[in-house]
Symmetry: C2
Subunit: 309 residues, 2 copies
Amino acid sequence: MYCFGVDLGGTFIKFGLFDIEGNLIEKWDTPTVKETFFDDIAKNVLDKMSEKDIKKDDVKGVGVGVPGPVDGEGIVNGLVNLGLVGQVNIKNILEEKLGGIKCIVGNDANVAAMGEMLEGGGKGYTDMVMITLGTGVGGGVIIGGKMLSGVTGGAGEIGHFPVNVDEQATCGCGKRGCLEQYASATGIVRVAKERAMKIKMPTKILEMEELTAKDVFDLAKEGDMVAIDAVEIAARYLGIATAAIACTVNNKAFVVGGGVSRAGDFLLDKVKKYFNEYVFKPCSDVEFKLATLGNDAGIYGGAALVIKE
Amino acid sequence: MYCFGVDLGGTFIKFGLFDIEGNLIEKWDTPTVKETFFDDIAKNVLDKMSEKDIKKDDVKGVGVGVPGPVDGEGIVNGLVNLGLVGQVNIKNILEEKLGGIKCIVGNDANVAAMGEMLEGGGKGYTDMVMITLGTGVGGGVIIGGKMLSGVTGGAGEIGHFPVNVDEQATCGCGKRGCLEQYASATGIVRVAKERAMKIKMPTKILEMEELTAKDVFDLAKEGDMVAIDAVEIAARYLGIATAAIACTVNNKAFVVGGGVSRAGDFLLDKVKKYFNEYVFKPCSDVEFKLATLGNDAGIYGGAALVIKE
């Protein structure tokens, strides 16, 4: 028995062929073409089946992550990056193009969380929350081994957790004081620059030509006080958000992924410190883990949607 | 077919006999005796079955709410108010005493949420979060019609949501800045008194002999600026917490209960105002409802555990 994991991104569509235990047999990708991506997904899956002589009855399903909120029925309300507008039932469209092979569709961040549970940093946990610290901050909530989509596909939108209502700068979402404004790669750079202007301390932050989040972490590790300050701010707001999430869903693990998580235990230890400061004791029995699958989390997650259904 | 809902409180054990559609047939209570409450629960259920000539096969189950965290297996780690210490499997104990009738056990606040979903303010919603504003602040999370317990029974512990890390006063839990410190009956009184001392404005707050949360709301409705301030602070922190919960689990409704909720729409409208200010748009399609079952929410919730299983 086999399954496919598909990660529909703005630039590439990634595919993985898996056995039903979650072992990756083969992975490949194809550029995303706005006009034809539904057909391209179906064609890639069906062609791979022909190539490997896999019959339809031997495919348990195809799990697909897409860049936008998806409800429990597989319906999206547009996919901005892919030029899709209005209510579209992605599950139905793909199942038809795949000749009736079952499809399960989820938001890409939620699906990535399922991938990390299947074979990544969250392996062995059935109740976990993934936090992806990239250009933005995304997330996924898994309860009892199942992905939580929420009533409008908005579950796990942890980047827009209100953590600082006194903030004056506006988030991309239009609000002020979202977690993403401090803990995303962009946010860490923004805070570091702001602090550098404000704090009268020697710092290399303002000397960098194109400051990145990695630069901020590297400088912090070298002892640059302004960089340390920016990292502490990110960790503190992550501590508040994770403490709040833990007393809402009482999960067993947080899995931290995305580019910013390359800072590793240097970041994770600080987040844990603040988490322990803010968390309600009966909800504090939580592990903090680093994600391990990187860009493959999406295809593993697609497979997990099928396997864990 | 019948079921029983049992609400094990520190002073009384409340019982409800329900038909399988959730209609209450009869309710009664008995004082809680620390030494015998397990036997008392079983005796009350079995006696009622004899009285009504209900056979064991006609009872689908007994749902029980207890005052402490309960994991998914029906195990508590002590019940402080009832003198119970250590790990106790309440489900197993009661099932044995009931001659094998199925028991489902949950935390009382979580179970009350199930009750409000079955026949109260949350009727018709399968994805809702209840917030109980009483002496403390409790809560319950319901996803897809099922009660969320969490890995250590701590799901829905919304009272200890960290909403203000700059707070200097300590919460009953030992932390600082928990929602309960502002939005519980106790919290509203505390904040009102503090503000009265700080704000140089005419107020009746300091003239009241034994100030209650109801007094604060009454004064706020009359235009007392200090009382209004305290209510706005409670509503603002409730707005932050509900916005954060909505972007985590993306629920369809918040049901607000407990003594403080008697302030009705006067409170709810303010909470909604702040919620809308802080919530992430894709997670904002949420209704705010008042709980309607009062002290009966627990027995209805016990029945709901059995009916919705």
